[in-house]
Amino acid sequence: MAKNTAVLKQDLEALKQDLINVRKSLVDISKRARKFKAVVADKKKMSEVKNAIDQAYKNIK
């Protein structure tokens, strides 16, 4: 069977590069997902603090 190693090498190189790109994207997605979680948690905390302050203000009044 006439096989061409040069073609297979090219295919392997392309696969390697595509794998690197997908891995980069996956790492980036993980980072962004965790950032969203942190931002939402912060917003929630801020909202709770604001509510507590509003409540305290009302109580003082």
Partner: protein, 202 residues
């Protein structure tokens, strides 16, 4: 005593024949050296392929961890969408991220298929698989295969439908199928494609 003209001519002819013989011998040696060099280069290339394949396997193991990590992080982000207090802007951004992640997971699955196909082809190159096993390996991986058209052009983008004992049934995106002898089919696979299936009407 001076030689006759015919004697000198005969001497010249003999010298010419001797030279031609020497040149042919040198040429034969050079060809042999070239063939040995080609065989060495081919063996080196095969070694390189096996080494590269080993490196890629590690890359895939690491990528599998990245997929798990991203899947977990995106799952947590997605769970936040259940919270009705999330502002619309954040909600849309998280939904977009979930979609993007889904696309990347699909891409990774396709890369795994390509890797399988390449493993099969490299194993075949090393004579580790029988012709039928080589076809089976390509079919299982859903690999794009090459088919020699009647126009004489080698066309890429075909798929294997059936792996019969000594024949292979292939089809293209237009629904055209062909039955070809296994050995002949395999001989097309390592060659450069001259035309893609979608470049001309079938």
């Amino acid at each position: 005593m001076p030689e006759s003209l015919s004697e000198r001519l005969a001497a010249i002819k003999e010298a010419q024949a001797q030279k031609i013989s020497e040149v042919n011998e040198a040429h034969g040696e050079a060809l042999k050296t070239n063939e040995m060099h080609d065989a060495q280069t081919e063996a080196q290339r095969e070694d390189e392929l096996r080494t590269e394949l080993g490196g890629i396997k590690e890359g895939f193991n690491d990528a599998q961890k990245d997929v798990r990590d991203a899947s977990f992080a995106v799952g947590e982000a997605k769970a936040m969408l259940r919270d009705p207090d999330i502002d619309p802007e954040t909600r849309m951004a998280v939904q977009a991220l979930v979609e993007e992640a889904r696309g990347k997971f699909d891409q990774f699955d396709k890369l795994k298929e390509r890797r399988k196909a390449l493993e099969g082809e490299i194993a075949a190159l090393n004579g580790e698989l029988s012709p039928s096993q080589q076809v089976e390996s390509l079919m299982t991986a859903g690999a794009d295969v090459r088919v020699l058209r009647s126009s004489g052009q080698l066309e890429g983008g075909w798929k294997i439908m059936h792996n019969l004992d000594t024949k292979v049934v292939v089809y293209n995106s237009e629904g055209v199928n062909k039955t070809v002898p296994t050995e002949e089919f395999l001989s097309w696979q390592g060659r450069e494609v001259t035309q893609e299936a979608n470049e001309k009407p079938i």
